[in-house]
Amino acid sequence: MNEVFRYLSLGLLIILNQIMLATNLWAISPDIFLVHTLFFTTFVKKIPNIYFFIFNGFVIDLFFSNISMPYTITYTLIGLYLNFSNLKWIQRSLLEQIILIISVSLFLNIILFLTNDFADGMGARIFINPLLNSIIWSVIFINQRQKWLKNI
């Protein structure tokens, strides 16, 4: 995944997220930005620079949060974790990965709701979102596991 594609996909995801917000699908859908991050932890060879993660989070916050904090902080933590980790993300056990995804999603959603005034029905997202994100990761994991085992 080259740089241009990375930024282009981010732009498209911003538009998609805005459409989901406008159609009230946002509350019951997985966090497409986190899923995007999960995708490039799986399919790229080199982890992007930590500052890329910070910039990514900051751009998302600019468009979808009243204060540039939830995504910026979460992405900073994700960037630090991925850059400092001694093990590759895909080398970790599924349980470990799911626990991390749920914790990050919960953390992100809690800050999102603390810093923004979303509609009441959106509160359900705090619980639905981590679940959906982990389900999506499980699907990727089950599909790609064999390929990873060959390459490791």
């Binding site: 459409i19 900051f58 916050d61 468009f63 204060i67 540039s68 400092f84 980790s85 590759k88 993300w89």
Partner: protein, 265 residues
């Protein structure tokens, strides 16, 4: 994705700078109101395609509605045609000359169905249609038919309209017979297009599908008009010899509006 093993000092430095950069970005966005500006830009950016899509959708919906209305009208016309043809077939089946197959009213002096009390028909066992009164008849009871098919009899007559009680009305009775010579007095059931009569003796046989005609014994309906067809025969639980005959009427009030009718004195 490869995992880089960084020395602890570099990790510490990187973490420190990361938080400094994050803090600086948060501070500058807060200071220059970047979030509000970015969100306004995004809404404006997506407004043009959104308007275009909603316009296309509304035009498509309008087109669909128009098409639906046309199809519904076509269905109604076809249903009307089917009903008229069905009556025509029944008439020919029973070797009757149907006086006039043209049901649509075309002359001012003709009597036709002007309205149908659908609400009382469906809810309250009151089966009525209304016909116009071109000859300004003042009183009397008349049998009403559509060609050779019995509809009912007049109940209340006013200067411009006559109320007709349908055969399916629970208060309506009619003397009927089959071609085999089975006679009975049928009563309205209160159900749409349905009358019933009881058979005390099984001397004369009858089967499902038999057509019933008026006998003329009641002095209101002229003999030989077509009433309906035997739809169901059920045995009484209390009387072994008694059977209940359900007769489906050929006249359909839902298809009757603006159809020509005949008054029989």
């Amino acid at each position: 994705m490869s995992a880089n093993i960084l020395p602890f000092q570099k990790k510490l430095r990187l973490a420190f700078f990361s938080f400094i950069v994050s803090g600086a970005l948060i501070y500058s966005s807060q200071n220059y109101d970047l979030n509000e500006k970015a969100q306004r830009f995004l809404v404006k950016f997506l407004n043009v395609p959104q308007q275009f899509i909603s316009q296309v959708l509304s035009e498509y919906r309008e087109f669909e509605n128009q098409k639906i209305a046309e199809l519904e009208e076509e269905i109604l016309n076809l249903q009307n045609k089917i009903y008229e043809n069905e009556l025509e077939i029944r008439s020919l089946e029973n070797s009757r000359s149907f006086n006039d197959f043209n049901f649509a009213m075309n002359e001012n002096s003709e009597t036709f169905v002007s309205s149908f009390d659908q609400m009382n028909f469906t809810c309250c066992n009151k089966h009525r249609i209304y016909i116009n009164n071109p000859d300004e008849i003042e009183d009397g009871i008349f049998a009403v038919s559509q060609g050779n098919f019995v509809i009912g009899k007049t109940k209340i007559i006013s200067t411009d309209e006559m109320e007709v009680r349908l055969l399916s009305d629970p208060d309506e009775y009619i003397s009927i017979k089959t071609t085999n010579g089975f006679f009975c007095i049928a009563k309205g059931t209160g159900k749409a297009r349905q009358i019933s009569c009881l058979n005390e003796s099984k001397a004369v046989s009858y089967t499902d599908g038999d057509t019933f005609f008026t006998t003329g014994f009641d002095g209101i309906y002229p003999p030989g008009l077509i009433v309906g067809r035997l739809k169901n025969i059920s045995s009484s639980q209390t009387n072994l010899f008694q059977q209940n005959l359900e007769i489906e009427l050929f006249f359909d009030p839902y298809q009757s509006i603006n159809k020509k009718v005949i008054l029989h004195e």
